[in-house]
Amino acid sequence: MAETTIFKFSPARPAPVNTEGLIPWVKSNLFANWQSALTTLVVGGLLLFYVPQFINWAILTATTVPNADACRAEGVGACWGVITEKYRLIIFGRYPFEEQWRPLVATLLMVALLVMSCTRVFWKKWLIAVWVVVLAAFFILMYGGLFGLSEVQTDRWGGLPLTIMLATLSIVFCFPIAICVALGRRSNLPAIRTFCTIYVELIRGVPLISVLFMASFMFPLFMPAGVTIDVLIRVLVGVTLFAAAYMAEVIRGGLQAMPKGQAEAAASLGLSYWQTQFKIILPQALAMVVPGIMNNFIGLFKDTSLVYIVSLYELTGSLGLALNSDADWRPYKLEGYLFIVAIYFAFCFAMSRYSLWIEKQVNKSKLR
């Protein structure tokens, strides 16, 4: 027999403790218990000690006058004059000074192309044509020899244009190679599987510097006499093959995570191996490893700085070049490095935010 419930009035209660606003937030997040309070005080103290010092150095007592004597004066903080003086050398490396509008235009074109390629409204077939045109324009502007532009050999290329070009091309080329290698490592055909495994293990087993070194100095020894391949191309191939090995493993991780049922369903519907991979498996596998892929892309962007080993002066290399050659400015490397740090950070942060956007896009089908 169920008990009959008798209705009872609930007495009025005071409202719950306010959890909105600044003071409750500080209380619950910064001073919730004594450990948290101690950490807050220590970290806060350190910030109070260092941040004003940095601001003082970097802004208040800094000078932007491109004069080394002004920097050496008593009480002067950061010497941004080194940037004002040397920025063209840092950004464009050894490219002939009076021709530097060419790498500037080429770089702007390239950045515009990248921004376009990342934007959904431009994901059309004609984007491929735009890529071909922009890449051709980039190389014509940089190399010259056409349309009355003077010829500039690739060993004079440097700075940001070189960094962006190396990173872009190696990312674009390494991706399809990585997909093929990742699929190859899971192939049923022993020859393909073995080849792909050896490739990945071999490349991963050596540092990028040694790959670049071999591409630059050893590879020409094996070429027939009279045949030379431009050092830039050799380095590009080296970086691409290196990055592809790492990328392949990231992609393989995604492939491994795919449930077997997906491939079986595709097979039962009569789809061929390649149709299954391109329509069913890869779209899902790649979506799963977007953070890993972007991680590699960002790493690759910064790894291009290692090409200094074969005397190509991209952004980091040309900074060294700009400051080491000038005794007056050599002491202000810190300012120089902060400058290129800002440039690297801008690119890497953009890539990282873009990765988050892509993740959101590819997960749309999972939203309920």
Binding site: E264, A267, L269, G270, L271, Q275, K366, R368
Partner: protein, 251 residues
């Protein structure tokens, strides 16, 4: 010995299969399926039921014996496999819909890329199939936005889009909540009444009684018993099948 008969759409002739070196999963399977026949396969887990039907569209390879589907023998010949897969539709326990494609795209994928059908025609046909499984209003959604029963009906519609001659069902209701089983079985009963050849691995004995022409009972990789549903359920011949039936009908 089995003779190949025009009326037999599937012929298993002494088919054997092993998993690895030690597990003999199919042992000397002989089975003829007539055109339009509706067969229910049952048996304890691990008895080889799923493997048996997965051999029919070559998701599994048999190692010995002959397996002929609609006049084509299944061998390593890729063309033969492709031909047979166009004629055999399959529905899986876990639905296996493609989660990154909408319901409609799940259905049009194979007609467009395997059947080389223009997109518009494929979509019209797909909508027809979706209406048939009573789910047309969900065409634009993604699979994970649907309930299990709805997903399985989409999977059935997808398999039907290639207008197969044979439909294979691998425990189509085992992963469903009880209240969704009926909506899937209803669709399957309707299909059964339209004359398609059906082989269904299931423990839904009500379904077997209602539509099956024949029930096959498997144990340890062998066909132990086969009979009409009426005879099989009321008068099982072997101890093994009696034991099995007592367990699944016990309560």
């Amino acid at each position: 010995m089995t003779t190949q008969n025009q009326d037999n759409i599937i012929v298993f002739d002494k088919v054997n299969k092993w998993y690895g070196n030690s597990f003999h999963v199919l042992r000397d399977i002989n089975l003829n399926v007539r055109r339009g026949e509706r067969i229910v396969v049952c048996g304890p887990s691990g008895s080889g039921k799923s493997t048996l039907i997965r051999c029919i569209n070559r998701l599994e390879e048999h190692q010995e014996g002959h397996l002929i589907v609609d006049g084509t023998e299944l061998t390593d010949d890729v063309k033969a496999i492709d031909k047979i897969r166009k004629e055999v539709g399959m529905v899986f326990q876990q639905f296996n819909l493609f989660p990154h494609l909408t319901v409609l795209e799940n259905l049009t994928l194979s007609p467009m890329y395997v059947g080389k059908m223009p997109k518009k025609e494929a979509e019209e046909k797909a909508m027809l199939q979706l209406k048939r499984v009573r789910i047309a209003e969900q065409a634009g959604k993604y699979p994970l936005q649907l309930s299990g029963g709805q997903q399985q009906r989409v999977a059935i519609a997808r398999a039907l889009c290639l207008t197969p001659k044979i439909m294979l069902f691998d425990e189509p209701t085992s992963a469903l909540d009880p209240e969704m089983i009926k909506e899937v079985l209803d669709v399957m009963v309707e299909m059964a009444n339209q004359g398609i050849t059906m082989i269904c691995v299931t423990h839904e004995m009500g379904f077997a009684k209602a539509v099956a022409d024949r029930v096959i009972f498997m144990d340890q990789g062998q066909i132990v018993e086969q009979n009409t549903p009426h005879e099989f359920f009321n008068n099982p011949q072997t101890d093994r099948s009696k034991d099995f039936l007592s367990k699944i009908l016990g309560h």
